[in-house]
């Protein structure tokens, strides 16, 4: 991935042999990665570089239409992405991406039931989760139990409103981080302002 100063802004690009997927610009071999559309892009633009490498084996929970996944697929061109999504409509679009990319294994399932795909997904180096659900932390931990190599890394994006729409976001974040601490080493966390309101990401390392 590449950060470029352009048009008075820092912009993010990934090198890609494939065409544009969600209407993003393509300049030469590079696809622009828009922070407004992808939380992972905003994480990187906020200065945190996640441990996703060329040969990473990655489990992606909540692939939606594949906006973020398409860029991750550019990055791990020697690895594999197992992408889980359970909503039929966005999955249709995502499937088109999966057909084009050789390193994406699409799985149409509920991330809350890792049992369902336990015989498909191998042990992975990285788990990325972006699902706005009340029990998203529990889902994250369960997937690590099933698929995390020891010392595997992960990023979870938490939306305060989807955990509790009335409580104070800072209070929610504190609780979420606290509940992660027993199973993970917390490496970094931050808000996603100004790109996404009331969201944070937490980068972790699996203790199991």
């Amino acid at each position: 991935m590449f950060k470029v100063e352009m048009e008075g802004k820092t912009r993010l690009f990934t090198r890609s042999a494939y065409p544009s997927h969600y209407g993003e610009r393509k300049i030469g071999d590079y696809r622009e990665w828009l922070p407004s559309r992808s939380k992972l892009a905003s994480i990187i633009l906020k200065g945190y570089v996640p441990g996703i490498k060329r040969d990473t084996r990655l489990l992606y929970l909540g692939a939606a239409t594949g906006t973020t996944a398409s860029h991750v697929s550019d990055i791990v061109d020697g690895g594999v992405i197992y992408a889980v999504e359970y909503s039929a409509k966005p999955f249709q679009k995502f499937l088109r991406l999966a057909m084009e990319r050789k390193n994406i294994i699409p799985i149409f399932a509920d991330a809350g039931n890792p049992e369902r795909y336990s015989g498909i997904v191998e042990k992975v180096d990285f788990i990325y989760q972006d699902i706005a659900q009340r029990n998203q932390v529990g889902i994250f931990v369960r997937n690590f139990e099933f698929f995390g190599k020891s010392g595997a890394e992960g990023i979870i994006c938490v939306k305060a409103k989807s955990i509790d729409s009335t409580a104070d976001p800072d209070e929610i974040y504190r609780k979420v981080i606290e509940s992660l601490e027993s199973r993970f080493e917390i490496m970094e966390w931050n808000e996603l302002e100004p790109y996404h309101r009331d969201h944070i990401f937490i980068s972790v390392r699996w203790k199991g």
């Binding site: 939606a64 239409t65 594999v80 359970y86 909503s87 039929a88 409509k89 966005p90 999955f91 249709q92 499937l95 999966a98 057909m99 050789k102 390193n103 994406i104 294994i105 699409p106 799985i107 149409f108 049992e115 369902r116 795909y117 336990s118 015989g119 498909i120 997904v121 191998e122 042990k123 706005a132 659900q133 139990e145 099933f146 698929f147 939306k159 409103k161 729409s165 309101r197």
Partner: protein, 258 residues
């Protein structure tokens, strides 16, 4: 011990390769994490072709499932909502019957009847949960704005997600208030004074219910607007757009303060 992998299964340490990979892929369910990595075994069997074959099977299975899913899910929710209503009605009737029976005689049969009735009532909770799950899946935006329950009710009245997506917001605003709407319309036609309903099903939403009467119409109109947009996104795109529910939230705060 049995481990089910997408290309076959281990039964007591003996491996059986599956004949139908699509079938075994869909059935590769294990209640606990596997003590090994699936790909290590797979590469012994398929060699370098492992990921190519896995990908092909995954895409084929996903295509099939998505298609099936898209056809069915809204009808499923609608049918569940109606089932829920009917169970509620029936349970009430049976409750009365049970009370009468109990007064007359407390036999073993009456006890059995009571047990079954309690079971029937607990089924209601299960159905509600299923409705919530499916609604989140097929109508994430609608669910985000009005909640799964009201969303499902709107869907039931409209008849399908497609129809709801094609409704104008003015119709959505009064879904469930047809009786009073048509009464008002016929009065207007006769040149009499009439009260046109401000809200139908969406009145159940706390944002409308908790506002003073004067402001409910404003909120209902705004919310119906956003519901109309949400239904369209749900039907055509299916992705969650968080800005919609935030707008509704802000509008509510505005109205409840002023």
């Amino acid at each position: 011990m049995e481990y089910r992998l997408w290309f076959g299964k281990f039964v007591n340490d003996r491996f059986e390769k599956a004949d139908d990979l699509r079938k075994s892929f869909s059935e590769s369910c294990n209640s606990a994490p596997l003590p090994f990595s699936v790909s290590d075994i797979g590469k012994e069997i398929f060699g370098d072709d492992y990921y190519r074959i896995l990908r092909r099977v995954a895409i084929e299975v996903a295509e099939e499932h998505v298609e099936r899913e898209l056809k069915r899910e809204d009808r499923y929710v609608i049918s569940l909502v109606r089932t829920l209503d009917e169970i509620a009605n029936t349970a009430n009737l049976l409750d009365e019957r049970l009370r009468e029976l109990k007064e007359i005689k407390n036999s073993q049969l009456v006890e059995m009847f009571e047990e079954k009735l309690i079971e029937l009532k607990s089924l209601r909770g299960d159905i509600e949960k299923e409705i919530e799950d499916v609604m989140r899946k097929i109508a994430p935006n609608l669910s985000e704005i009005v909640g799964e329950k009201i969303g499902a009710r709107l869907l039931e009245k409209a008849g399908s997600l497609e129809k709801l997506a094609n409704y104008p917001s003015s119709t959505i605003q009064v879904i469930g208030a047809e009786k009073s709407l048509f009464k008002a319309l016929s009065r207007i036609r006769k040149g009499k004074k009439a009260k046109v309903p401000k809200h139908g099903v969406i009145f159940q939403h706390p944002f409308i219910k908790t506002l003073p009467k004067k402001k409910r119409g404003k909120m209902a109109r705004f919310m119906a607007n956003k519901i109309a947009i949400a239904a369209k996104i749900d039907y055509f795109r299916g992705e969650l757009d968080e800005s919609l529910s935030e707008e509704v939230w802000r509008r509510y705060e505005q109205l409840s303060r002023s």
